[in-house]
Symmetry: D2
Subunit: 264 residues, 4 copies
């Protein structure tokens, strides 16, 4: 962290890739989580002591090489940080490949972190959802990145964070040129995705749809439900009095997928 | 809940099997989580109003029929409950099959809930880890239940909760007798597991091993680390002063697995 | 099959979605496979008797609703058909969603079927590789279809087969319009993919790379290895005599992925 | 193979752990399968030339480290061997961990190989079905081995093959004693399983159930269906004439699982 500060770094990632267990038989999970909390408190204290003003980040990862890691996914990290009282001190560094290994899409993990004010930075190395380990490949698909970037940039961007390629080329890519092709391809894919996302955001087709889908929550019944003092009884009474009969509405998934496809 | 109260019920489970999304394209996750929070606040208020003194429980489940559910696993539920300020009002109903669908073992989810003081009750219907949906089968394996029950009963048992079979028989089990065999088999497996776990707990072999593995955390260095006022600097200094050189220790997984096998 | 003949149908698909077992405990797999063989012999005889000149097709699917199906994937079907002596009578109807459920990409199953002269027709409904069941969604991604179609059309096309949408819309898509959007979107994606694949095939960049990678198999050493009468001893002697020292070559995966991206 | 012969070995395993592809983009699958066929022909010729009378074995494995291997599972190997005309020369070495990685239970792969007269030998190192890579752990569960061994020993045993532990201990098991515990535990589990399976076979409860379930295939209608000259028409006519109305029968899965549990 001292070196990061001297180098003007903005982020300090704690990759917990071995902070878990091989077998629950030898493990006191409560004690381990307390120790993890204590360690992070000490790190945060140190950050403030030396005046490092970058972000401290946890990187969710479910397993590999361990059987089970405590920072399994974004939600696991947040459950922990909230219990530890460290939610305002530590953000998340979300990796595409780790997201899918934990059963979530990359865009889910990003949207979830944003909704919880916890997004710090991104590792955009991709995996292969038909394989069960961390392949750490360079990003190579606009269609895989478009929703992650859309969520990111329609919510204020990434702040002090960035897009990290800690990616490596495949075992069979043994020429020096392969590294260039991988970097060039990865950067091109990011650039193309950014151009597409700019259009998506300015067009507002998706965001208008979503606003409209939820707009009733800003209206009478929605406000009433969220008003302090409202109870299940008073909602029940209101529904009877006003003869409220909400009808199911289509989620229009296929329509929205068609719209998304126009940007690809 | 009124009916549950009149019937003397001890638990009221909110199974969120459709509280999620089919596509993130039409979804405002932040708003949905706020609505979920509000709904649960109203439910908890109602519980207190009518004087129902049972537990309110969330049941983690990652997906199926939806693409993604908010109560993905125990950690997701806890992240949510802590944010919503409902951690002391709502506990978890953990299901074996949902645990494995979310990438965790059943014993992990139970141990995690216990370590976080969040365990409410159990659904012990099993799944098939080679299949990707909820098969909801009756428990039929002592070796699958022994660690879940060991964690449960070496930590004070299940309190107001219980062991629920919401299990169903397989599509091809079409005779009335099949339901009897399923119930009898499931209960026998639970009974055998309880007998084995009683021995495990009284023998203390596993618990002594774990206590010993972590005992240094109660000694000088462990206490120092956890003392208020300790910093990374002061730990660093202590390590240098006292020439502390911790050596890696084996996790002895295979030895512990052999011990466990003696109870099966 | 009589109706198919009268309607001028070109294909008759035997979807074996329940031809498997729920539990191996009650199953005589050898006998079941023999019965399946006998059933298919009878079907093939009937086809010839009535003069139906379309294709008879098996549709590989690994499981769901059953625990395990005999037609698990293309290779399982071929192992069976070759044993049964029915390889020349029955081809495969490959579905995108079933391919991924069995651990293969759609393009793998197609390329494998082509390499084994077994491709009959395609169901192009897609799944979700983060989910473990058959979602049967309409195709909505050019980047998912480009390699399947590339393999198909650079190997002579689909003959008597076709592209089937047996797809359905999602549970939440409840408006009549949703079905239109799904069909229109699916057809548009197919059309765009066909245009991209036409360019890929005419450009020959990928096919030239592959030809070049394997061209040594048409040269001296390659021919020698494949000549009747050649033995491990004679290859060994040739390598010594001619001081043959093959060097590892890069697979250039990232370079090739960049080329593919130009067509998307 | 020369060394194996001199040492009196009975088996020679060709582990194809890299015989696959990292990307289908650079791969001519048909040519690769032809080359694999040629290689195996040369190996078989060499075996006969030197008079090695052991078994040559392929070891199915779906992937890792490669993206996709040709010997994906037992069925893939058999499809290949039948096409190559090598079915009588090469058998299979089935590994528990590879079986589950390919989506099959260990007992399925064994029963399938037996039903196809293709079983050669077993690697009994287990995996973890919640993890997506080859953990190669020692066997530690009677309940996981009982069905594999039951199929094996109720079908004549393993012949020239054996039970291989190529297993390794876990990364955290760093004491020399750990290797002993792992071997002892693995052998004990095998021994206990053998004792249980001996009882299962002698009791005949499962085998009698299965015989009875399929016994109609030895009776009039079953024989008629399998008689040369029978056609769908003649079966249809027989069903009408004799008013044959088969009723669905329960698969009794839960009853059979209870019986199995008596041996554990």
């Amino acid at each position: 962290m001292d070196a990061t500060k001297r180098l003007g770094g903005s982020n300090y990632v704690l990759w917990g890739g071995r902070e878990g267990y091989e077998t629950i038989l030898n493990t006191n999970m409560g004690l381990e989580i307390d120790n993890l909390k204590r360690f992070l408190e000490l790190v945060v204290d140190y950050k403030h002591k030396i005046g490092f003003d970058g972000q401290i980040l946890l990187e969710p990862k479910p397993h590999e090489p361990t059987k089970h890691q405590y920072d399994f996914d974004s939600a696991s990290c947040l459950a922990f940080l909230r219990k530890a009282g460290l939610e305002n001190e530590i953000k998340l560094n979300i990796e595409a490949n780790h997201a899918t290994l934990s059963g979530h899409s990359f865009e889910h993990e990003i949207a979830y972190a944003i909704a919880n004010n916890a997004l710090g930075s991104l590792d955009i190395n991709r995996g292969d959802t038909l394989l069960g380990w961390d392949t750490d490949q360079f990003p190579n698909s606009v269609s895989e990145l478009i929703l992650p970037f859309y969520h990111l940039f329609s919510n204020g961007g990434i702040g002090k964070g960035g897009l990290n390629f800690d990616a490596k080329i495949r075992r069979q890519s043994i020429d020096p040129e392969d590294l260039f092709y991988a970097h060039i391809g990865g950067m091109d894919v990011c650039a193309k995705t950014l151009l597409a996302v700019e259009k998506m955001i300015n067009d507002k087709k998706l965001s208008d749809y979503v606003s409209k889908r939820y707009e009733d929550w800003q209206k009478d019944l929605g406000n009433f439900i969220h008003t302090k003092g409202t109870s299940l009884d008073s909602i029940h009474q209101k529904v009877l009095n006003e003869n409220i009969e909400p009808e199911p509405r289509s989620g229009n998934q296929e329509y929205l997928e068609n719209i998304l496809n126009k940007y690809l």
